[in-house]
């Protein structure tokens, strides 16, 4: 092996240069993961501000203007800054090791696609300190609230979104190129681990829809600065057009977030069941089916906008169909556990919680797909509860599971099982205290994005806020656990780490060397 990575012993300059100029997939994976965790903490802090203000009726801590900035920034930072980069980080670390490749196919682009991200978020968050404040029109930024009626800082927001989009597109191209060209001999498509499969499909979704988002924000830019009227009714435009374009991006976007999470869980459950994944090929087909359906259901986010009834019926039926492939996946996970030999380490606990809570979110999703009932649910806390069950208990839980699962392989040290389990139970209970009551709030009539509410909603909001602080605390524990493991964890050299773990990444030494698979492995 030519050279190892620079460490602190080589001096600060060398050490910093290593991270800035790195083209190593493991380094870039690490950068992505730390960046996303930083964004997760920041987005979480925004959520804490929201829940603190909603602890009681009335405006106590902040003004409605700032409240709207917080809801918007919370959504944007969590979706684009925390969850997406976290899974890109996992992909960077694991895909080459899983398919027996020495690195990603396009290492320099890999460096670029990471390093433009901090700038995108610096631009986005700097607006909070500017005159006019940050974006205040919700993460869905519906026009004309985000165009004619937006603060001037919206231009920074647009620029930031463009950079994030470029980063995502580059990252996706890299993943597609890697998987198509760099698989070890004998690693056929239908032998790839599920995590790799879900990521390839996700990458295709990203390449397809990020340009649509770029188009939407460019049209906004034109409306704001250059006198066009794409979304301005007074100039002959149509505000509803914005929603169609946004959700044509936005619906695949939510699957972009959840598919890699499916992949992670499909790796972890077989390991701790000590039994191969049940129905591998149906898992692949189900993932592809979900990805396809994601392109043809977007207007179910717009049932109350006044579409013709034929449109409503079509989008309702198409949306209901998603339940079929999603059900297949859930049944497969449970059948993988059936007649296994189960143990419940932290990654497995998070994965089981994922299956239960994600499915719960899927149930409410099915209820939301029924247009007539959606007329009552739409834009209430019922929706907020629904998408936090799939986004947090789905994507975030699976990301946490992934970190605990692969951390020993990455750094050659074992985390403290008791502390991991403690974090799990606080997160699991806190999560449910936060979001379960939000179903009741929504059904009882509390709309989302409300800075203040009537007295009849006071009790459940207080419960929800208490749960949120608890869930927030669990994340601090997570940070502590990870740092403690890297610094002071019990060293381990077992390549397999977990008794039931299967796959190429577990044939490598622990901790994984800086360069792996310089010569392709031989598959059994």
């Amino acid at each position: 092996m030519a050279h190892g990575p620079a460490t602190l012993a080589d001096g600060w300059l060398k050490y910093i240069s290593r991270w800035v100029f790195t083209t190593n997939h493991k380094d870039i994976g690490t950068l992505y993961l730390w960046f996303s965790f930083a964004m997760f903490i920041m987005g979480g802090a925004f959520a804490m501000v929201i829940r603190a203000e909603l602890f009681q009726p009335g405006m106590q801590l902040i003004k409605p203007e700032f409240f709207n900035q917080m809801t918007t920034m919370h959504g944007l930072v969590m979706v684009f800054g925390a969850i997406m980069p976290a899974f890109v980080g996992l992909a960077n670390w694991m895909i080459p090791m899983m398919i027996g490749a020495p690195d990603m196919a396009l290492p320099r682009m890999n460096n670029l696609s990471f390093w433009i991200l901090p700038f995108a978020f610096a631009i986005l968050t700097s607006t909070l300190f500017m005159e006019g404040g940050g974006p205040n029109f919700g993460w869905t930024f519906y026009a004309p609230l985000s165009t004619t009626y937006a603060p001037d800082t919206v231009n920074y927001f647009i620029f930031g979104v463009h950079i994030m989009g470029a980063s995502s597109i580059m990252g996706s191209i890299n993943i597609i190129a890697t998987v198509m060209n760099m698989r070890a001999p004998g690693m056929t498509y239908m032998k790839m681990p599920m995590f790799v499969w879900t990521w390839v499909i996700t990458a295709f979704l990203l390449v397809a829809v990020m340009p649509v988002l770029a188009g939407a924000v460019t049209m906004m830019l034109m409306d704001i600065n250059f006198g066009t009227s794409f979304f301005d009714a007074a100039g002959g435009g149509d505000p509803v057009l914005f929603q169609h374009i946004f959700w044509f991006f936005g619906h695949p976007e939510v699957y972009i977030i959840i598919l890699p999470a499916f992949g992670v869980v499909s790796q972890i459950i077989p390991t701790f069941s000590r039994k191969p994944l049940f129905g591998y090929s149906s898992m692949v087909y189900a993932t592809a089916a979900i990805a396809f359906l994601s392109f043809v259901v977007w207007a179910h986010h717009m049932f109350t906008v006044g579409m013709p009834i034929a449109g409503e019926l079509y989008f309702m039926y198409a949306t209901m169909l998603i339940a079929v492939p999603t059900g297949v996946k859930v049944f497969n996970w449970i059948t993988t556990m059936y007649r296994g030999s189960l143990t419940f380490e932290t990654p497995m606990l998070f994965s089981i919680a994922f299956v239960i809570l994600f499915t719960f979110g899927g149930f409410t999703g099915m209820m939301l797909s029924i247009a007539a009932a959606d007329m009552q649910y739409h834009d209430t806390y019922f929706v907020v509860a629904h998408f936090h069950y799939v986004m947090v208990a789905g994507a975030v839980f699976s990301g946490t599971a992934a970190v605990y699962y692969w951390l020993p392989k990455w750094c050659g040290k074992m985390y403290d099982e008791t502390m991991g389990k403690l974090q799990f139970w606080i997160a699991f209970i806190g999560f449910n205290i936060t979001f379960m009551p939000q179903h009741f709030l929504g059904l009882a009539g509390m709309p989302r994005r409300y800075a203040d509410y009537g007295l009849q909603f006071a009790d459940w909001n207080m419960v929800s806020s208490i749960g949120a602080f608890m869930y927030g605390g669990a994340q601090i524990l997570f940070l502590y656990n990870v740092i403690r493991t890297i610094g002071w964890g019990k060293p381990t050299n077992d390549p397999q780490v977990w008794e039931g773990a299967e796959g190429l990444e577990w044939t490598l030494p622990t901790p994984a060397p800086y360069h792996t698979f310089a010569t392709p492995p031989k598959l059994k």
Binding site: P57, P239, T304, G306, Y338, R339, G340, A373, H378, A444
Partner: protein, 381 residues
């Protein structure tokens, strides 16, 4: 405190109780409400029914699937000596759990379609009411009756900011509710003036976005008089949480009386537009209008919010010619959040608020703005 804890405890037991006693919960026990209201119209009943069907189907599937999962987690754990089997495929089973959910979906699609057809049945209405969303209030116009008014939040800023105790109807009270009769099919034609709002009355099962440049239709018909409260459900700026919908359903005779009174009010107003107002009269009325319609953005102290909403204190418009000041209120400022108030405020209110802005917060212009000035400006246009 103890009472509150007790309430919370009861609330936590709620899901069980809700399923057992699922149904309409009256307004008095609104704090305890956990489920969707059944409401008072065919549409809200249809939404409630399909909601309950879906909830039960999901509950049954959930209990079966998770029940099996928990059994597996108990029975097949390594600590109980379970040895892993090695199967990883079973085509028949996989086919069954693809086809059976698909069949369940087809069955569910039937009531879902029927319910939606009901929502869209807006033909043959007895009364048409145009609902327009403004930042941050609703305007109701009885089409063909010449009656039109604004409905704004009545809760005071003091209650919102904790300087006064919150009333029983906190954020659920408006200056003038919408009034409709029992037993008549009322069609709502909903649109927006500035950004997108959404008009929601849960007890009617009516939620429609109020989109600028677009009319959407919804309908309600009920035999149960009462006051029904709803909300704006599309993020529309800083006043999003502060523009409730309140609808009063009255027996037909009472409704007709109310409508006649409204028409008379309009006629009386038209005849008094020429009245000369004194400086102080204008200041009092102007402050009232300002707090209701302007302070949300420009703030009570007239200083605005830097970078978003301009200050009126010491502003060249407020200190300049009266006609220019009136023009801003009548026309709005295109391309900004400053909308036209020509349809929102009466001539008297516009005159009063212009007068107030020119003479409050040390903007001591000292002139008088009369309703006739506003009318002259409008007619001169």
């Amino acid at each position: 405190m103890l009472k509150r804890a007790q309430a919370l405890f009861l609330g936590l037991l709620g899901p069980v109780v809700a399923l057992a006693t699922a149904g309409n919960v009256s307004a008095e026990s609104a704090t305890r409400q956990l489920n969707m209201p059944q409401g008072v119209t065919e549409v809200s009943q249809a939404a409630y029914d399909i909601h309950m069907i879906m909830m039960w189907i999901c509950t049954v599937i959930g209990v079966a699937v998770f029940g099996f999962m928990f059994y597996v987690m108990y029975a097949h754990r390594k600590s109980r000596g379970a040895v892993a089997a090695n199967f990883h495929e079973h085509h028949v089973v996989e086919l069954i759990w693809t086809i059976v959910p698909a069949l369940i979906l087809i069955v569910m699609a039937i009531p879902a379609t029927t319910a939606l057809l009901k929502v869209y049945d807006t033909e043959n209405a007895d009364i048409d009411i145009k609902v327009t969303g403004y930042q941050w209030k609703w305007q109701y116009e009885y089409i063909g009756e010449g009656v039109k008014f604004m409905s704004e939040l009545r809760t005071s800023q003091d209650e919102i900011y904790g300087r006064a105790p919150k009333g029983e109807h906190y954020l659920r009270e408006v200056t003038q509710p919408l009034v409709i009769p029992t037993g008549k099919k009322v069609r709502f034609l909903i649109t927006g003036n500035d950004v997108i709002h959404s008009w929601w009355v849960p007890d009617f099962g009516v939620k429609r976005d109020a989109v600028p440049g677009l009319f959407t239709a919804a309908w309600a018909k009920t035999d149960i008089p009462g006051t029904y409260v709803g909300e704006c459900t599309e993020l529309c700026g800083i006043g999003h949480a502060f523009m409730p919908v309140v609808v009063e359903v009255k027996p037909e005779a009472e409704y007709n009386e109310w409508l006649a009174a409204k028409k008379e009010e309009a006629a009386v107003y038209a005849s008094t537009i020429g009245k000369e107002w004194t400086f102080d009269e204008l200041m009092v009325r102007g402050e009232e209008v300002y707090e209701r319609s302007c302070a949300g953005c420009h703030q009570s102290d007239g200083k605005g919010i830097a970078g978003v909403f301009p200050a009126l204190k010491d502003s060249p418009i407020a200190l300049g010619a009266k006609e220019g000041h009136i023009a801003v209120l009548i026309n709005g400022v295109p391309g900004t959040s400053m909308q036209s108030f020509a349809d929102q405020l009466s001539e008297v209110d516009i005159a009063a608020v212009v007068h107030y802005e020119r003479n409050a917060w040390d903007n001591n212009v000292g002139d008088l703005t009369q309703p006739i000035d506003v009318l002259n400006y409008k007619q001169g246009q």
